[in-house]
Symmetry: C2
DNA sequence: CTCCTATATAAGCAAATACTTATATAGAAT
DNA sequence: ATTCTATATAAGTATTTGCTTATATAGGAG
């Protein structure tokens, strides 16, 4: 892999909040509104982190009404895959489950 | 792996000069003085990058006289291994080869 | 010892990054 | 149309990071 692309991917990964987002996604799709609850940062900060992950090709997004749902991209590079494998999954409320309406 | 440790490892990797150092080490041990020639930064900057890699457990060092030789650590985490696998090796003058005296 | 070379550390600065608050957009409900 | 909720963007600020120059340390040579 090109070394500059590698650097870009690693920079996208090298942040505790973005790693937490990826850990939340290990079990499947999550609504962005859940992330805002889970992370100790503001809603715009979450939005900016998600943009970085999207630009790095690590997640895909699906909009349904006002809500936006995020999941891991189908094709992940070996490095990203190794990182995600190494993270413990973080469980968040799944969208549509029980009292969750989004 | 603990997420904070993962973040620390990724931060150690997410820099073009440190990736270049690792790429130089793919073929084996290299003297620090070679890195100073190869990288477009000052000697102290090289020294600081090497310290980060050492503190992250990615390299080991061996001192012989004035020179210091660096090689990849024996045990590398799957993430570090995946990064190194993804990098093309950079060839540098090997220490002790031909006119190289260190 | 003095000098030279290799490397490390310290301190200061510049660039990049991640956060905040304020505001904009867009969809759903009243 | 107005209002509410979810998300995005903009702009400003604080923190972090990587660089530089200057200086220190340490080993070898004369």
């Amino acid at each position: 892999m090109d070394i500059y692309l590698m650097e870009k991917q690693l920079k996208a990964l090298a942040d505790i909040n973005r790693l937490t987002l990826l850990a939340c996604l290990k079990n499947g799709e999550v609504c962005v509104c859940q992330f805002v609850d889970v992370l100790p940062i503001s809603q715009p900060a979450v939005s900016q982190h998600l943009r970085k992950l999207r630009e790095a090709g690590m997640i895909t997004e699906r909009k349904t009404g006002i809500w936006k749902h995020v999941q891991l991209a189908d094709e992940l590079s070996p490095v990203v895959q190794a990182v995600i494998n190494g993270l413990d999954a973080v469980s968040v409320c799944r969208c549509g489950a029980g009292d969750v309406t989004c």
